[in-house]
């Protein structure tokens, strides 16, 4: 079963990574260390644009009290800083990296949990919690595999699965924002 899964996963890759160990898939954090300059420059764009969008959503949420809005804005600001700390994996490693990664992840989930949609939409209200839970489960799975599987970098199946889990967890976290953008699009149409 595991062998079939391994073959399926490797079929998704351009070529078998076992023949080219130096070119195997790697975690997002490792790419931060190896391509730091490019990533630091690149990440400023999406970070700023999504920050603008999230701040606007927070300020426009009439259901939130003034105090809650201020707190969420502080959380969003801390996400900006903690993301930059996570990106600098070339110099900030170990516990600090794990701590700031968890902090960024939890802060974004907190923001999505607190700020409500401008216009209620049944599909978004249904999908959003499911996507959030799936993202948390995948991230927990990724963390567990990194922590508990011994010598994971040399076990290609586990390593590739682990990398895919991390990517999927972050994509699902990002899709929460995409659902918010979808709701904004609906409010423009109406």
């Amino acid at each position: 079963m595991l062998y079939i899964l391994q073959k399926k996963i490797q079929a998704l890759l351009p070529y078998d990574s076992r023949k080219h160990p130096s070119k195997s898939t790697t975690t997002i954090s490792h790419t931060f260390a190896e391509h730091n300059t490019v990533i630091t420059i690149y990440v400023v764009g999406p970070m700023s644009l999504l920050f603008l969008f999230r701040v606007n959503r927070t300020l426009r949420d009439d259901k939130l009290s003034q105090y809650a809005r201020k707190m969420v804005l502080i959380v969003l600001l801390s996400v900006q800083y903690s993301t930059l700390v996570v990106v600098r994996y070339d110099t900030i490693k170990g516990f600090a990296h794990y701590f700031f990664t968890a902090m960024t992840f939890v802060s974004l989930l907190l923001y999505h949990g607190i700020v409500s949609n401008r216009g209620a939409h049944w599909m978004v209200d249904l999908i959003k919690p499911m996507v959030g839970v799936a993202s948390v489960l995948l991230m927990c799975g990724f963390g567990a595999m990194i922590s508990f599987v011994t010598d994971i970098r040399n076990r290609h199946t586990y390593w590739t699965m682990c990398c895919y889990m991390e990517i999927l967890a972050l994509l699902l976290l990002g899709s929460l924002d995409i659902l918010d953008i979808y709701v904004l699009g609906l409010s423009i149409q109406s």
Partner: protein, 58 residues
């Protein structure tokens, strides 16, 4: 003495924004900015871990 301020369309407004409610214009700008941000973010997340696989792109 009462001062009355009348709103006029600015002469430098182009055809797309003329007559558009400022709230709607803000929503449009925010919508496209957010789409751009999310696209860049998603491409970064999916592309970076495969840099090793896809070759020395940098």
């Amino acid at each position: 003495m009462t001062l009355t301020i009348k709103r006029h369309n600015r002469p430098n407004q182009n055809d797309e924004t003329r007559g558009m409610d400022s709230n709607l214009l803000e929503k449009h700008c925010l919508y496209y900015a957010a789409i751009l941000g999310a696209s860049l973010w998603a491409s970064w997340i999916t592309w970076m871990p495969f840099l090793h696989v896809s070759g020395p792109a940098m």
